[in-house]
Amino acid sequence: MLFNQKSYHSIAFGIVLFYFVYWFYQGHFLFQLQQPTLINTGIDNTYWLFCILRIPQTIMRFPIIFDALLVLFTIFSFITKQKWSFRILLLIAIIHIVTFNVYACTHTKSCIFFPMLILPFCFDKLFDLVWQAVRYYFLFVLVSASIFKIINGGLFHPNQLVHILENQHLDLSILNPTNFTYRISTFLIQHTTLTTICWYSFFLMEFIFIIGFFTKKFDFILLFVLIVFIISTFILMRINLMDFICFIPFLIILKNDKKNATF
């Protein structure tokens, strides 16, 4: 063991429980969809495969049972700490996510983070290596977001964040112009210098995660940046990045673990 698996286990369990409470608040459980009728797979090959095999269609006949199965299996897995149990949980989580997205007609990209959080527990002897692989993947996702902004030309486009805010809040401008987010956006749209600073700050908040590839010494800073990133994206753009909280256990290494760590 590179470090004490227990601390990751406890933090991950806490995050997952919080995540489920948040899911319930948001209406993210299958039974909360209230027996939807339409499906939309997008052009995602995995969603296509699941729908061709009629998996979401079958699950949606018993939504509350599958929701209960997910929650109970999570609790059971974290209490018993059995590898096979986590493997079944991983499968249930993936089916749940695909079913929800297909019936909610959405394609939430970041939903993959929840199964990623469970993944290291599915491997007993290789726990440390898989844990590190998942950590690298989280880092990659955030750093790649900043790289995409450079490659695709959005980073240096004049008034990019101004235009993003204008496009993002079109519904608010008609339906709810007194909304808190809309008022902040209106202020920012009128103060382009400040908005440009915010835009580059967002870029830096993503790019700074490159540090994580080389050292874990600054993980507490990355954790702080991650939380600021999640909150500011929600306040400014009403984009929900709560799935990113699954990254938190990969940024917290307790004192006890640092003594044992060889990385």
Partner: protein, 175 residues
Amino acid sequence: MHSIYLIKVWKESKALFIGIIIFIFFQVFFIAKRIQNFPFFIFDMYSRPIEKPTTFSIYEIKANGKSVDYTSFKNTQENTILNSIQTYSTAKKEFPKSIYETLIEHRFKNKISTTNYQFIKNGLSNNEAAIYEFDNWLNRYCIQSNIDFSVYKNTYNFQNKSKIDSILILSEDAI
């Protein structure tokens, strides 16, 4: 050199090493193809230049004669409502064809038997009953109107926010 992650993985588990390499390959492949495929996350939102809109369209849900402010709903609920209305609108327009008819044909037609093709198509499509039942679901999910409700797609001028066009998507007398 031994501290490089992939070398460590290679030494400890060849199977995991191959698994990681395959994952990296598909991640790069889907980035190059610009296709979002579960579980490969491409976080490129707003990475391309965005321009100021001249006109824009939003859905308006009217229940009991009043506009429903779905922006005050929970994030997940709002997304579900808007995406479902969009799916309904497309499915109804395209019916009896699937909304991904062209893609399904391109991928499967004349490559597999007619029976299998139909099986695949049915799994990816919304049938008539699903489209017909959509208004009941929408009412149950968010509107909960006991009089009537309707959904419009309104187009506005960005500058002065004046309504340019309004298309009726759905109209229902609820019971």
